[in-house]
């Protein structure tokens, strides 16, 4: 179940590299967030840890409703559907995305064998699967961790590839998703206040991004970053 969800998250992240319009991208991000929330919920069912339920609800509320809602409203203020612009084009981006997925998978297997599964130096390395209830529920699945790493890479790639600021911001959200997935796959539950703080941060980030991109449309007539090449050296 978790593995299926993880692969779905991977697929929806790949879709971000392929969508044509900005508002479609926002919908895709909303979908990814629902998947993430579902993942936390499934883990909650298996472990009965209250923190996971809260995480699921917060993800749903913040990432699946508020963030996409706010971004869609910003897009509506512009009035016309905005197309995405990529340096590599749609097919090129998808191809690089697939390539990155393969690299991410390879990277994970070497990384995991060096760090998590075989102690690098000293006997004090925790063996991940059995330290927490969540780790046990995950049963040492590698899929989640692999997907997390790939999502992180894809997010970073999105920020380089895309020329519209909103898509770069979605790249940031994607990277954040990757970090959250990785935390989940390590069986890690943040302390409640910290988790709350991180969600609050994400909220403020998106509000700031929305304000800035709207200012840009007003001042530059576009959200494209190629009009922003004046500051150098």
């Amino acid at each position: 179940m978790l593995d299926i969800l993880a692969w779905l998250i991977w697929l929806s992240t790949l879709m971000l590299l392929f969508v044509r319009y900005l508002h479609q991208a926002v919908w895709v991000v909303a979908g990814t967030s629902i998947l993430l929330s579902a993942m936390s919920f499934v883990l909650f069912i298996e472990t009965r840890e209250g923190g996971l339920l809260i995480a699921a609800l917060l993800t749903l509320l913040v990432k699946a409703f508020f963030v996409p809602g706010y971004l869609l409203r910003t897009l509506q203020k512009v009035g016309r559907p905005l197309e995405t612009v990529r340096y590599l084009g749609r097919m090129g981006s998808l191809l690089v995305g697939l390539l990155l997925s393969v690299i991410g998978g390879r990277l994970f297997s070497t990384w995991a064998s060096r760090l998590a599964l075989g102690p690098l130096n000293g006997p004090s390395t925790p063996s991940l699967e059995h330290t927490t209830a969540m780790g046990r529920a995950l049963g040492g699945t590698d899929v989640l961790m692999t997907v997390a790493l790939i999502v992180l890479l894809l997010g970073a790639f999105m920020m380089i590839d895309h020329r519209k600021v909103l898509m770069q911001a979605l790249g940031l959200v994607t990277m954040e998703n990757g970090v959250v997935l990785l935390a989940t796959s390590l069986g890690y539950q943040m302390p409640f206040f910290v988790e709350l703080g991180i969600f609050f941060d994400l909220l403020v980030t998106i509000v700031v991004v929305g304000m800035l991109s709207y200012q840009m449309i007003e001042a530059l007539g576009s959200m494209a970053t190629d009009r922003m090449q004046r500051l150098k050296g």
Binding site: M159, E176, V179, V194, V208, L212
Partner: protein
């Protein structure tokens, strides 16, 4: 009783900047906006001094609000002191500066209110971050400072300032995402330490049990947080946002960005460094020295080719951040002590430099170095302050920055890091040459532009400042003059005598780590 006083004091220190921000931004209070700001900032400074007095009475033991979450230890007190002090002086400077920008029609009155709100919220966010004793919440605090300050960077709404703000938000957030990943690895490193279960990111506990943490995960966590917070602190090669953000924001904010925001990021790095297991310290120090040296190497050539006065100062910040990290990389209490002292000195001299440069370019109507000539004739007082700030920032003896730079070089050489030590000496000498050239070019020669003469009536400050005082300061308003005089006084004497209470506080902070 004492307990209640402590808690109340800390709450007041946290809440006050936000109250000041909201009150000063209210439309109903716009007539007394300046007094609200001055009162708010000065009360904050007094409360901070009071809290530090309490800290001294208990010989450095932390004031606690929420155990494990919010407290004021010696390091936090040092940071809050710096924020409250520079924040107060930036408020004094900002009032006449922004009033004149407003009169020149650079922004609307609602934008003015937004600026005041953002400025004090920014100070509040930095203070909150400095009091966080939980590494997760410290991260949240540092991220919040990024977001709030991004809105002050984009304040003028020019295409270039939007570009700067965007680059800043994006680079800062990606950096901090990596730092968050680092914190997650830190958590993994704690899973086999029984004392840490359930309070995994509590700094105090982590510091006590640091030698039990899993070393391979800790190293990974350290590298990621170094990259993350290093981006925020403007260390090369992650510094590309810094010159843009510093040069595009209003001058009071530029000063605060350079003097305070960068230090707040370094605080995150310091707290992380202090929980590294002893076995990994050597490696961590090598990393710090490498990235510090890299920042020096990167900044110096850019300092030579700058044509924009605020960008020049921004690259000098990259250089000084590199020096601070070098000092941390020298290791030991003496290295940390020198680093913290340099943090303080850099903040004082750099805010003075940004403030006076801001004033000069406001009068001349340009930031281009080539177009500013004869400043010493046109505005003797500000010109003199500017010269002092530039000489100070270049590390000229006997000013304050020289003292801490000398201390850092001494530590580097005695600890046997001859190569980086030599590198630092060379870089400092080169920067000195560049700074002197620029300063002389700007101060002397005949003023070309008509605006070259600051007319006192134009430059009058807020609240009916007496004409005589205005004339005395050569077209600078009283409030601005006070902030210049206070900062300049410390630059002058700080190389010869450092207040003993400051050195005690810094020593406690250094011993804490």
């Amino acid at each position: 009783m004492n307990c209640v006083l402590e808690a109340g004091l800390l709450i007041a220190i946290i809440v006050l900047p936000f109250v000041t921000a909201s009150l000063a931004a209210m439309r109903a209070l716009s007539a007394s906006r300046d007094s609200v700001q001055i009162i708010g900032a000065s009360v904050l400074l007094l409360l901070t001094l009071f809290a530090i007095t309490l800290l001294f009475k208990r010989s450095g033991e932390a004031l606690v609000l929420l155990p494990g979450w919010l407290a004021l230890d010696a390091l936090g007190a040092f940071m809050v002191l710096l924020i409250a002090l520079i924040g107060f002086l930036a408020t004094l400077y900002g009032i006449p500066y922004m009033a004149e920008e407003f009169r020149a029609g650079r922004f609307s009155s609602s934008a003015y209110r937004r600026y005041v709100f953002l400025f004090h919220t920014f100070l509040g966010a930095m203070i909150t971050a400095a009091l966080m004793m939980n590494l997760g919440l410290l991260w949240v605090g540092i991220e919040l400072t990024t977001l709030i300050s991004a809105l002050t960077v984009s304040f003028y709404g020019r295409p270039t300032s939007l570009e700067a703000a965007w680059k800043y938000v994006l680079m800062g957030s990606v950096g901090l995402t990596l730092a968050l990943l680092g914190l997650i690895f830190l958590f993994v490193a704690t899973t086999n330490v029984p004392e840490l279960q359930g309070q995994a990111l509590d700094w105090q506990l982590l510091h006590e049990t640091r030698n039990l943490l899993a070393p391979n995960w800790m190293m990974l966590a350290f590298v990621l947080t170094l990259v993350g917070y290093g981006t925020k602190a403007g260390l090369a090669p992650f510094h590309f946002w810094l010159p843009d953000a510093h040069s595009e924001s209003p001058s009071p904010v530029s000063g605060v960005l350079s003097a305070l925001l960068l230090n707040t990021a370094l605080l995150g790095l310091l707290r992380m460094l202090s929980i590294m297991p002893d076995t990994l310290l050597a490696e961590a120090h090598t990393l710090l020295r490498t990235i510090g040296a890299f920042s020096l190497l990167f900044a110096v050539p850019f300092i030579f080719v700058q044509w924009d006065i605020k960008r020049l100062l921004a690259y000098s910040s990259v250089e000084h951040m590199g020096i601070i990290v070098l000092a941390l990389g020298a290791g030991g209490v003496s290295g940390t002590f020198a680093a913290l002292l340099h943090m303080f000195n850099h903040s004082v001299v750099k805010s003075l430099a940004f403030f006076s440069a801001g004033r000069i370019s406001q009068v001349y109507g340009t930031k281009r170095i080539a177009q500013i000539k004869g400043a010493v004739h046109a505005m003797p007082f500000v010109g003199g302050v500017w010269m002092l700030a530039m000489l100070g920032a270049a590390g000229t003896p006997p000013f304050n920055v020289f003292l801490s730079e000398w201390l850092i070089m001494k530590t580097l050489f005695t600890e046997g890091h001859v190569v980086v030590g030599t590198l630092m000496v060379t870089a400092v000498v080169l920067v000195f040459a560049a700074f002197v050239t620029v300063t002389v070019r700007m101060l002397y020669g005949t003023p070309e532009t008509k605006e070259g003469h600051a007319s006192p009536s134009e430059a009058r400050g807020a609240g009916g400042v007496p004409e005589r005082a205005t004339r005395l300061l050569g077209g600078t308003s009283l409030w601005m003059g006070i902030s210049f005089v206070v900062l300049a006084a410390y630059v002058l004497i700080g190389g010869v005598v450092v207040p003993s209470s400051l050195t005690t506080l810094i020593r406690w902070a250094a011993e804490l780590l």
